[in-house]
């Protein structure tokens, strides 16, 4: 895909480790992905695989220590975020990259009215008058679908429902019309109807404001609904990447396959859902070789020793499983 000049964010070989007592926890362990302008990229993975840590690393919000960025590069719009002076990074946060967090219930400051909290995001980056800020906040609340914004401006977070709070969070993220919004499981804490509304809202806003979205989730259903490009993450690394169509139609990594099998669909109705055996390894005690091998049904002896490389299937589709790659190769040979 010849869009390399269009790349907004590139994360290369990012490694974030947590020190503490005991062995080092490699929460993110060689993460690679790219986000183009106006693209919606989904990062999918089970709980604990390092999605939030990756996002926080991009914004420079990890507390160091205990976190250390052991290796890697993060480039945003041609500039390296990891080497950027603190003041510049701060100017960028909220202005060009904004984040919507996982827990709407606790992510708003309980002692300030929501209007002030949204307005603050504007005032941090732009010199505008009080009146202009007020008008803008009004508009934002209206955009995210809060009825009667004029009146809700002065409300405190505890007076809003979870869905409304997440809308406020999104309004806050939109405040300075950023180029990229990182949405970290914005709907996990909400019930299904609200979830659909928020998704629709994000999709609509993305169209209107020309933003790119990095959408973090563990829900493949959500991915199917909004993603252009999908990165499947396992134990701190990308194990498969490709367009939404490829991932859903032609998955080539056992983990992705297993995730898809676990997805409820119309066809599987009435049957028992598949679930992946075992659990995600603790980041400090990962197995040798392929991190997924203890849970993998295609596991071969070689998987226990060598860390698998990404295998190129063409059209931007990569998967980190040499076994399936070789199997496909053999299948094609025989067909030929």
């Amino acid at each position: 895909m010849g869009r390399s000049n269009d790349i907004l964010l590139a994360v290369e070989n990012l490694k974030v480790h947590f020190t503490g007592d005991g062995p080092v926890a490699r929460a993110v362990d060689g993460m690679d992905f790219q986000i183009h302008r106006r693209e919606t990229v989904c990062i999918v993975g089970e709980s604990g695989c390092g999605k939030t840590v990756t996002a926080l690393a991009i914004l420079g919000l990890l507390k160091q220590p205990p976190a250390i960025i052991a290796d890697g590069r993060i480039t945003f719009d041609g500039r390296s975020l990891l080497d950027m002076p603190a003041a510049e990074l701060r100017a960028l946060r909220g202005k060009r990259i904004a984040m919507v967090f996982q827990e709407p219930m606790t992510s708003l400051n309980p002692v300030f009215p929501i209007g002030d909290q949204i307005g603050e995001a504007v005032l941090a980056h732009e010199r505008v008058s009080e009146v202009a800020v007020r008008r803008r906040v009004n508009q934002l609340l209206d955009d995210v679908g809060i009825v009667d914004p004029q009146r809700r401006l002065g409300d405190y977070p505890h007076q809003l429902s979870g869905g409304q709070r997440q809308r406020v969070m999104i309004a806050m993220a939109l405040a300075c019309e950023p180029d990229l919004i990182i949405a970290d499981e914005p709907t996990t804490a909400l019930d299904v109807t609200v979830q659909a509304q928020i998704l629709g809202l994000l999709k609509k806003l993305k169209q209107e404001k020309n933003m790119a979205i990095q959408y973090i989730t563990h829900d493949l259903g959500v991915v199917a609904a909004i993603a252009d490009q999908v990165y499947v993450m396992y134990a701190g690394v990308v194990v498969e990447q490709g367009t939404t169509g490829i991932i859903f139609g032609n998955a080539r990594h056992p983990y992705t396959v297993a995730l898809l099998n676990a997805l409820p669909t119309k066809k599987k109705r009435g049957r028992r859902l598949y679930s992946i055996p075992g659990s995600v390894p603790h980041p400090a005690y990962r197995p040798m070789g392929c991190p997924f091998h203890p849970r993998c049904e295609y596991c071969e002896p070689s998987c226990q020793n060598a860390f698998p490389a990404l295998c190129d299937y063409g059209k931007g589709h990569h998967a980190r499983c040499p076994i399936l790659f070789a199997a496909r190769g053999r299948a094609e040979e025989t067909r030929a």
Partner: protein, 388 residues
């Protein structure tokens, strides 16, 4: 796309790929070893304990090795490490160690011996007082947390009222009336007990006895509120002054006036624990209340109680020293760190060691308790614990 730059030195060869699970005690010990301040506190505490026990053995008995009460008027206010003047002392008056390690006081008594004797006193005051406070605290807090929802019936109140009235009358020396009230109260109680066992409804005219009035929890918490209204040091001072001077009175009074904190948070602990699944499960299995409390809830509540007890010992020792300083403490001739210091205040410029030896000793020991207690509080804090 960079791909293979991943480490081969991946750790964790065990099969589970999960952190090794340690028992809570091993985990606590591990964290304690990492918290240097808490560990120092623990070590000092153990040393102090040893010194206090050793001090008790060498300074007590009929003919102690180091006699804290031996007066040598010709040797008064000798500075630390000075050798005794052998010519003016009889042989049994010589300090056993050859020199006065911490000097002598205004009566020529060996301060080192007195300090050793005082160490034991400080230790017992701290432990007994806190033992009492924690005992009351656990009892009331536990009742309040576990049975707090139950109602006190008016009959109960009547019973206690009669009892208190009887005691008051007894104090007023109206013994016959007191005895009558006592008998009425106990008889009523027994009657009600028997009645309850028979499960027959009460006669209409006595229905009011079983009338619920107030929750147990409310009662206990109001009692805590009342106790907190008294300025604690002032209260202790008043009571100590009213009672005959004795070291046991001091321990008991400090204990009786400092149980409120423990009560409050044992209650909180019980309240949160009794809502938890394992307790609900135990109750569903029909396990008795006492067993639930002692086998399931107590072990979980005990660690924070110990922390607050440690801090309580520190503050009880300070209180005792303060009382001794004001002249209300342990009566002489028994030495405590507080009264050595208090005796020394008249000679602060001539014999500063009389102030500094006990002052520094109190400081170090109390500091050790505080460091250890606060360190343990951090260690037991689940928020700190989960990221390891």
């Amino acid at each position: 796309m960079a791909t293979t730059a991943n480490p081969v030195d991946r750790m964790g060869t065990d099969e589970t790929h999960m952190p090794p699970s340690r028992s809570p005690w091993a985990e606590t010990w591990h964290l304690l070893c990492k918290n240097r301040m808490a560990l120092t506190g623990l070590v000092i505490f153990l040393v102090f304990f040893g010194v206090a026990v050793a001090g008790l053995t060498v300074t007590s008995g009929k003919d102690p090795i180091l006699d804290p009460a031996r007066v040598r008027l010709q040797e008064k206010l000798r500075p630390p490490f000075s050798a005794p003047k052998t010519d003016s002392l009889r042989s049994e008056e010589l300090p056993a160690l050859g020199i006065y390690i911490l000097g002598t006081d205004d009566l020529g008594r060996d301060v080192f011996a007195r300090m050793l004797q005082g160490a034991w006193v400080s230790l017992t005051v701290g432990f007994v007082a806190v033992g009492i406070a924690v005992g009351i605290g656990i009892l009331l807090g536990g009742i309040s947390g576990y049975y707090g929802r139950q109602y006190i019936q008016s009959g109960h109140i009547l019973f206690w009222l009669l009892l208190v009235l009887a005691i008051v009358l007894a104090f007023q020396k109206i013994l016959s009336a007191a005895a009558v009230l006592l008998i009425v109260a106990i008889a009523g109680w027994l009657w009600k007990k028997r009645h309850d066992r028979r499960v027959s409804p009460l006669p209409v005219c006595l229905k009011w006895i079983a009338l619920p009035t107030m929750q147990v929890d409310t009662l206990i918490m109001r009692a805590v509120d009342i106790m907190l209204c008294f300025p604690s040091f002032f209260l202790i001072l008043t009571v100590v002054a009213l009672l005959p001077p004795s070291i046991y009175n001091i321990m008991v009074i400090i204990g009786l006036t400092s149980w409120m904190g423990t009560t409050r948070f044992v209650r909180a602990e019980f309240l949160s624990l009794r809502e938890q699944d394992f307790v609900a499960a135990a109750r569903a299995l029909g396990i008795s209340d006492t067993r639930i409390i002692f086998r399931h809830i107590m072990p979980n509540a005990v660690a924070p109680v110990l922390v607050s007890a440690t801090l309580g010992i520190a503050s009880a020792m300070l209180t005792e020293a303060g009382l001794s300083f004001l002249g209300f403490g342990v009566p002489p001739p028994h030495a405590t760190w507080g009264n050595i210091l208090s005796d020394g205040k008249a000679f602060i410029f001539d014999a500063p060691w009389l102030t500094f030896a006990p002052g520094v000793a109190i400081l170090i020991v109390v500091l050790a308790f505080n460091l250890f207690g606060e360190g343990m509080r951090d260690i037991l804090n689940p928020k700190l614990r989960e990221r390891n």
